[in-house]
């Protein structure tokens, strides 16, 4: 009986499988398990894992922490709006915030050093998309995400907002400059 009719047999559970199905199910199962175990494997042996470290916060509290860092470590300003470029010491906690429609502040890192990068939003949801290295995360208001990152290429990286945040979404860019070590 075809698939749009009831099965011909009242009891179909005990019908033997064809070899083609049994073989394929075996192969597909092995592949599925391999893909599953690849993820914990990468947590142990891989270098690109997003931390689950996060905190609840408020825009005011987060802004205060960011501003304190900006006041302490600003090295220069850029653009007509005098955006601060902050060069925090390696290993320190770095605060980046997204708001309509700006990433604040601009950051300068040293290649090969590790930073604890905190990110949160002041208003709506934003997307942190670092290009061209291509790292993408979701940024929520009220939550502070912490990524421990080690830039291993020097040059200019651009933070693009990749979560729709209103009419000025496409202008929401930021920068992370990575300098060669020892400068």
């Amino acid at each position: 009986m075809s698939a749009i009719q009831p099965p011909a047999e009242l009891v179909w559970w005990k019908q033997p499988l064809d070899k083609v199905e049994g073989t394929w199910i075996g192969i597909a199962l092995v592949w599925s398990l391999f893909m599953f175990f690849m993820m914990p494997f990468w947590h142990i042996y891989g270098k690109q894992n997003l931390s689950s470290e996060a905190y609840k916060t408020t825009p005011q509290a987060y802004m205060a922490k960011t501003q304190a860092m900006v006041d302490q470590y600003t090295v220069r300003t850029e653009t007509a709006a005098q955006l601060p470029v902050v060069r925090p010491p390696p290993g320190s906690d770095v605060y980046l915030l997204g708001r309509l429609w700006q990433w604040y502040p601009l950051l300068e890192f040293e290649k090969g050093q590790t930073y604890r990068l905190h990110i949160s939003s002041m208003d709506w949801q934003h997307g942190f998309s670092l290009q061209p290295v291509n790292i993408n995360t979701q940024i929520l208001p009220g939550y502070e995400m912490v990524m421990t990152i080690t830039p291993d290429t020097s040059g200019e990286q651009t933070i693009i907002c990749n979560e729709f945040c209103g009419i000025g979404h496409h202008t929401m860019l930021g920068k992370i400059y990575v300098t060669e070590g020892g400068q």
């Binding site: 011909a8 073989t23 599953f36 995360t137 939550y143």
Partner: protein
């Protein structure tokens, strides 16, 4: 229940309950009208993202993208699926539809919801994308429309379940329900979970938009919203797999290789498919790796296993049916001599291949916890889901529509010459469209983004030239696919509203005539295997499946390699 409530389709032998038939027609007509609205929005959105044209201003672009998303992903799909549910229960079980009046209430709520939601978006006060992430506010009617639609669809699901009960009670069939009905049941169950999640998240959001609630937590919203947003696409997967089985049965008289295997595969969908809502939360703050890994992998990829099984058993059952008819030369004579000029078949087969090779593989790869870091919210994501929802579900539903025009609407298919080419135009256009998007996404191009040149930004950024080229290819392919979609709507509307009634023959009646009254395909002595090779009933399909696996493994490995080149992070 009087006998004159039923009609037997003279061609297919299908038995239609008249109230159910009217409901199916109403849902299908609404679905196609929405497809038209969503399609016009699609054209304008595509022409804006095609960098050389960049048609619309930013506000219009986001407004039409919102309209495109909700109409296509929610309203078109679910409206058509309710018609499929009624077909798979009332028609396939040769049973009256339970409570047609309540079903009409569901239809009315769905229709009002569609209108209310679209009016809100059209007013320009709800350009928040389908996801309407809080705390970005929308016109309250945006949420209200979705809620009304969801309640209506839930009523449809319960009418379907009630019809299964009626059929069993009234003994309109013997033994188990047909496999296709079982697939529809799978879709219905996922729909119930989806819609319930939608209510849990959208009702408070609606109250928030009206000012009765102060605050909706962004992270909580995302978890529950994606139980709606992603699972609704899993309804489509279950429904279009059921449609594949149905078309294999309709066109070839194919019987499932094994009822047990196919039903267990659907069961794995029921239990695990919905966990993949986590795909959207892999780079969200605060969720543990354990939660992400378990959910994103559908509990150890058991639902992927199920899809790989369907991907074998659907063409496998066609191969067995074709071999039984004597097409036994080589590995692929059964496929070469398939009715490629019949859009019911060609559409279904392109849907199967496109869903598996493009949508399926990309979905699993980007849903891998760590690989998502290089893909989240890039245009790769819509690339992936256009392969699953458009090539997979929409094209399968289009194919089914070519069968429903003569059987359900009793009309001849208009412009059969155009209809013959439509699945190719649509399927190939869409395939090229999705591959170009995935390529551009790999280069970091963002989704839901008006201007990849970042005009007027204080700090500029330039994508590589190849990204612009790929977005151009996306634009051209998108226009080709939309042309294919327009032909579908033209053929459907002209056939249904202006077409000639079916007398004894219809354009695609040849395949339909064999349906219920035909003898099922003769199974050779000694089971299916006797007609195949190497002791396999479907050796050609097995070779295709191995080819699929090879591409899968290769692409999976390439993406891990790409990830390994990204800055170390922990």
């Amino acid at each position: 229940m009087s006998d004159n409530q039923f009609r037997i389709c003279p061609e297919s032998g299908l038995q239609f309950h008249k109230p159910a038939e009217m409901l199916m027609r109403a849902h299908a007509v609404v679905a196609v009208v929405i497809l038209l609205i969503g399609g016009i929005a699609a054209l304008l959105v595509t022409l804006t993202r095609w960098p050389a044209i960049h048609l619309l201003p930013a506000d219009r672009f986001y407004q039409l993208l919102t309209m495109h998303g909700t109409n296509m992903l929610i309203f078109w799909m679910i409206s058509f699926e309710i018609a499929v549910l009624y077909f798979c229960s009332s028609t396939l079980l040769r049973c009256r539809l339970a409570t047609p009046r309540i079903a009409w209430l569901g239809f009315a709520l769905m229709l009002i919801g569609i209108i209310v939601n679209n009016a809100a978006v059209a007013s320009g006060t709800a350009s928040v994308m389908m996801t309407s992430y809080v705390p970005m506010p929308a016109n309250p009617n945006f949420y209200l429309g979705l809620i009304l639609f969801a309640v209506g669809a839930l009523i449809g699901c319960f009418v379907f379940l009630a019809t299964l009960v009626v059929a069993k009670d009234e003994k309109t069939y013997e033994g188990s329900i047909p496999l296709v009905t079982f697939g529809a049941l799978t879709a219905c169950i996922i729909a119930v979970f989806t819609i319930a999640s939608g209510a849990i998240v959208l009702i408070p959001t609606w109250l928030w938009s009206l000012g009765y609630i102060n605050h909706i937590d962004a992270a909580m919203y995302r978890i529950v919203w994606w139980a709606l947003g992603h699972s609704s696409q899993q309804i489509n997967v279950a429904a279009h797999v059921a449609v594949w089985y149905a078309i294999a049965a309709i066109v070839f008289g194919a019987r499932p290789l094994s009822e047990k295997v196919s039903r267990v595969a659907f069961f794995l969908y029921i239990a695990f498919l919905q966990l993949a809502s986590a795909h959207h939360l892999l780079v969200d703050p605060g969720l543990s790796a354990e939660w992400k890994i378990f959910n994103t992998s559908y509990a150890m990829y058991l639902a992927v296993l199920a899809s790989m099984v369907h991907g074998l058993t659907v063409p496998g059952s066609i191969e067995v049916a074709q071999r039984a008819k004597g097409l036994t030369n080589g590995l692929f004579e059964w496929l070469r001599k398939a009715p490629w000029g019949n859009p019911i078949f060609s559409g279904m087969f392109i849907s199967l291949i496109g869903f598996g090779f493009i949508g399926g593989i990309s979905g699993v790869v980007m849903g891998t916890e760590q690989i998502n870091i290089i893909i989240h919210n890039t245009i790769y994501v819509p690339g992936h889901f256009h392969a699953t929802v458009v090539i997979g579900s929409t094209l399968a539903f289009m194919s089914l529509t070519y069968f429903l025009i003569p059987t359900l609407f009793r009309k001849q298919v208009a412009f059969p010459g155009l209809a013959k080419w439509q699945p190719y135009l649509f399927g190939i256009g869409m395939s090229s469209f999705t591959l170009a998007m995935m390529g551009a996404g790999t280069l970091g191009v963002e989704r839901r983004h008006w201007d990849m040149a970042f005009t007027n930004s204080a700090l500029g950024f330039e994508y590589p030239a190849s990204a612009f080229t790929l977005m151009g290819i996306m634009g051209i392919s998108g226009v080709v696919a939309i042309l294919g979609g327009a032909i579908f709507i033209l053929v459907t509307v002209v056939s249904v509203f202006f077409g000639k009634s079916v007398e004894s023959e219809s354009s695609y009646g040849i395949s339909a005539t064999r349906l219920m009254r035909a003898d099922p395909v003769v199974v050779p002595e000694g089971g299916h295997g006797a007609a195949g090779k190497w002791g396999f009933a479907a050796p050609g399909t097995f070779v295709l499946a191995l080819f699929f696996l090879a591409i899968f493994v290769l692409y999976y490995a390439v993406n891990w390699k790409y990830l390994a080149s990204v800055w170390p992070m922990s």
